[in-house]
Every structure is written in C-alpha cells, then in structure tokens.
C-alpha cells in the first residue's frame, strides 16, 4: 500500500494538468477576492456576512480539487495505464484507496493555499479600505478548517465520481454541470432539497450565514457521506468491471 501511495503521489507531482489546475485555482480565487473586496461599498465591507463571503471565496478551490480527483483515475483509463497498474496491484480497492489518499493530500494542499490567499488578500483589502474585521474567532476557525476540509473531501468525491463514470470527458462534464447548473437550479427552486446537496453541505461546513443551511457539523457529516458513497460506489465498480 505504501508503494502504491508513493507511486500515486509521484504521478500527482509529475502531472502537468495538476499544475494547470493549481494555477487556475489561484487565479480564480485572486480575481474573485479582488472583485468582491474592491467593489463593495464601505458599509458592505463592515458587514459580517459580506466579510464571510469574501473569505469563503477560498471554497472555490473545492472544484479544482474535485477535478484533481477525477483526473487521478480517469486519466489512467484514458491512457490505458490502468492495465499495468492492475496487473501489478490486482487488489483494485488498494489502487482506488491510494488515489483517494493522494487526492485528499492534494485537496488539503489546495485548500490551505486557497485559505492563505483568501485571508492574505482579504485582510489587505479590508485594511486598505479602512474596514475593521467583524468576524469572530469561531467564524475564522470554521472558515479556515472548513475550507480545507471541504476541499479535501471534494477531491475524494472526485476520485469516486471518476471511478463511477470512467470516461474523463463525461466525468468532468458531469462535475461542471452539477456544480454550475443543476445545483444552483435546485438551490433556487427547491431550497428544502437544496440544503442537502454537496455544495450546500460544503457551505454549511464553513458556517455560511445563509439561513436555510445545515449546522457545520451536519454539513461536514453530510459531505463525508457523499464522498464515502461516491468512493465506495467507484471502488466497487472498479473492482467488478473488466479492464478494457
């Protein structure tokens, strides 16, 4: 298992797409932070919920972490390298587990970097515009730890999704359509259902002030459940399917 994990980490490190995703994540977080921070009025900047929104821009890293997870497994199917991988490690569950762990580590890294950027740039923007921070210690703690946890869990969810779908293009499209289209529609049309989606669970974990969300603990447990279900389903399908 250790060898498998080291091998997966090496693949993560040497994959150019992952570097691209990291760059994309940094760019997106910075642009969002500057846009929200610099365009708000003085009263906006002093508002608790607005400040929370600025710092929670870091949770955008979750989408990139999920893509890392999706790529970790679907690129092996795409390039046919899954065959030697499974010949060498016939216990396919171990391969999936190693991919989940390595993706989780990448997710933690993405989350930590995004949080660092959000708080670094966010504080600088507030200071430059003379706004005082009204978020309390508990808010900050939940934003920091919640964002890192959310990003890590989405990377695991990505591995599970990739293992279920197998086809890289379809898996990426499914992820983007869900996060960009289906989830927002569900959120707006049926908020009672929308509060239980993975995105709502992520927002709950960082204590997003939206009133209809779950508690941070409830959101965290729900997101863990989503990740676990996807990983379990993906692992089961990978173990059962023929490798073509």
């Amino acid at each position: 298992m250790t060898d498998q994990l080291l091998s997966e980490l090496r693949k993560m490190r040497s994959t150019r797409t992952n570097l691209g995703l990291l760059g994309g994540m940094v760019a997106l977080v910075v642009v969002f932070l500057l846009t929200i921070g610099l365009t708000g009025t003085s009263s906006d900047l002093a508002d608790h919920d607005h400040q929370h929104r600025v710092f929670s821009v870091a949770t955008q890293a979750a989408l990139f972490a999920a893509l890392i997870g999706v790529m970790a497994i679907t690129s092996e199917f795409r390039h046919g390298t899954i065959r030697p991988t499974f010949v060498v490690t016939p216990h396919r569950g171990r391969v999936v587990a190693a991919k989940v762990i390595s993706s989780l580590l990448m997710g933690l890294l993405f989350g930590a970097l995004a949080v660092g950027l959000a708080f670094g740039i966010g504080y600088a923007v507030f200071a430059a515009r003379g706004a005082h921070l009204v978020l309390d210690r508990n808010d900050v703690l939940l934003l920091v730890l919640g964002t890192i946890a959310v990003t890590a869990l989405w990377s695991a969810l990505g591995v599970g999704l990739g293992a279920v779908v197998k086809n890289q293009v379809f898996a990426v499209i499914a992820l983007l359509v869900w996060t960009g289209l289906v989830n927002p529609i569900l959120d707006g049309a049926l908020p009672g259902v929308g509060r239980y989606t993975p995105i709502a669970a992520s927002a709950s974990l960082t204590a997003d002030p939206a009133s209809y969300l779950l508690s941070p603990l409830g959101g965290g447990l729900l997101l863990i459940a989503y990740a676990a279900v996807f990983v379990a389903a993906g692992g089961m399908l990978v173990a059962r399917r023929d490798v073509t």
Binding site: S14, H79, R83, P84, V87, V88, P90
Partner: protein, 296 residues
C-alpha cells in the same frame, strides 16, 4: 507452461468464451488466431486478471497463476498503455520496477532494450513525441524489460512498417529462444506462418484448430495446386473431379483440390492442353487454412 483450461465468459447474450482450452510451452511461440470477436483479447485479458471468468482456470506450470508469477509475465495490449508525457527511458525503467526489479537493474535493462530497439537516442523524449511505430517499440520494451517468462502480445504488428515488423518478429523469436513462452494474436497470417511453430485458431470462443502449423496444414481437407501454362486456352480448367479454380492470372492458375485428388491427374490433363512451365502441389497456406476453419 501456460494452460488455459475450459474458460468461459458471457457478455449479456454473447458467449465470448465457450470452454476455450489450449497451452503454450516455454520456448515456444504460439500464434493465437481468430476472426474479430472470436474471444482472443478477452482470453489475453483473463490471463492477466483484467477480465473476469464465469468458469475455467488460467494455470502456470499446472497451478493457478499467482500474483508473484504474474509479475514475471509481460503483456502488450492492443490498446497501448504508457504515460504520454513521461520520458521513454524513465518510463521503461518504471515498468521494470513495477515488475519487481531493483532501480539500478531496471535502469540498466531499460537502456539495453532501448538500444536493441533503436530508441537509445530517444530515451529522454516524452512518449507523445515519438512516432506511432516508435511508441509501439516503447510498449514492447515495457513488456520485455523484466525478461518475462510468459509474453502475451495482442496484435503487436498492427500498424507497423515492414522494417518494424521484421525487427519485432526477430525480437519475439529471440524471446522464445531465451526460453519464454510467447503468445501473440495477429491477422497478418503470412507473418504468423513464417515465425510460429504452433497455432491455435478460435472462433465463437471455442478452439477450432490447435497444433503445430505443419500438422494443421497436413490435416486440412484441401490441397493447393499451382500451374503455370504456356499456350493454354483462356478459359481452360482441368477436367478432374474435386478441383476448383481459386484464381487465374496471366497464364497462372491457383486451384484448390480435395485431399484425395491425385495431382498427377491434374498435371497430365494440363500437359495434354498446353506446355506446363510450372507446377506445385501442397497443403494450403495458413490464410487458406484459416478461411477453411472459420468459414461462415
């Protein structure tokens, strides 16, 4: 020795493998033949545990193949499987390590194989920068780097130019001489005829012929007769029962005759009609035998 014992696999309504059984001994090269969809690739995948079986066994030296033994096998799938952005030399060494070699031994073996395959100067290039033929050579190196006891190759000659085909054929013969059991599928039957001692022909997931190439050709119900005539009428055919025209071209005739037909009768009839400048008689080629075996 690799033994495939009564393996069965169904995909929905299709019985892909239907009690398939054959074996490959060490030091022998076996051509694994069959029309598209006969079950060749599924069989090869089953050898490596990549496709599940409903019944039957894959044995090595009479026992179920273990994981450790499988690490000593080499597999070149039809759909290639290498990392496109990884340097070729590093990649081959990586595959050697996956199969249990030490880092130093894997690097040395990778260099040696790239040298033999004419890729030494491309060792630092990324796989995606190589031509199709060179990528195929790199895939072969990945299958051979750990000196496998069993080598399984799915359509290894597909898409290669004649020089690359020759190089690959020599490599496979070398592997069999080294003592490896070599199993490969191909639709290039002339090539199989040239380099294989043994063949297995399968159809609909079942073995329809298995044995040495010579024995199978002799067992055929048909014989081929080739005649070159000077001055024969354009539509002339021998008046011998059981003889059929296969091809006529510029005074040359290729005939198919039943095994019981006396070739002397054909020759005598031809000599009564025209000057015979060439005559040959023998068992069918592998292509003809294949068509006879999988006739639909």
């Amino acid at each position: 020795m690799l033994s495939i014992v009564d393996i069965r696999r169904r995909f929905g309504e299709v019985q892909a493998l239907d009690g398939l059984a054959f074996s490959v001994a060490r030091g022998r090269m076996l051509g694994f033949l069959g029309p598209n969809g006969a079950g060749k690739t599924t069989t090869m995948r089953a050898i490596f545990g990549l496709a599940g079986l409903d019944a039957g066994e894959v044995l090595w030296d009479g026992r179920a193949v273990t994981h450790r033994q499988r690490l000593g096998f080499g597999y070149m799938p039809e759909e290639r499987g290498l990392y496109p952005r990884m340097p070729v030399g590093e990649q081959i060494a990586y595959f050697g390590r996956l199969h249990g070699m030490s880092s130093a031994a894997a690097r040395a073996a990778a260099s040696a194989w790239l040298e033999r395959l004419g890729l030494a100067d491309r060792a630092a290039a990324k796989l995606e920068e190589l031509s199709h033929g060179n990528q195929q050579r790199a895939q072969l190196a990945a299958a051979l780097v750990h000196e496998p006891e069993l080598l399984v190759l799915d359509e290894p000659f597909a898409g290669l130019d004649p020089v690359a085909v020759q190089t690959l054929a020599e490599m496979l013969l070398g592997e069999a001489e080294r003592g490896a059991a070599v199993l490969f599928s191909s639709h290039q039957l002339d090539l199989v005829e040239d380099i294989c001692e043994d063949v297995v022909v399968i159809d609909h997931g079942r073995v329809v012929a298995d044995g040495t190439l010579d024995a199978l050709r002799r067992r055929s119900r048909h014989r081929r007769i080739e005649l070159r005539l000077d001055g024969a009428p354009g539509a002339w055919l021998p008046h011998v029962a059981g003889v059929e025209l296969v091809e006529r071209h510029n005074g040359s005739l290729r005939l198919e005759a039943g095994r019981d037909v006396d070739p002397e009768l054909v020759l005598a009839d031809a000599e009564r009609t025209a000057k015979v400048v060439g005559f040959s008689y023998g068992p069918p080629s592998l292509t003809e035998l294949f068509l006879e075996l999988v006739e639909r």
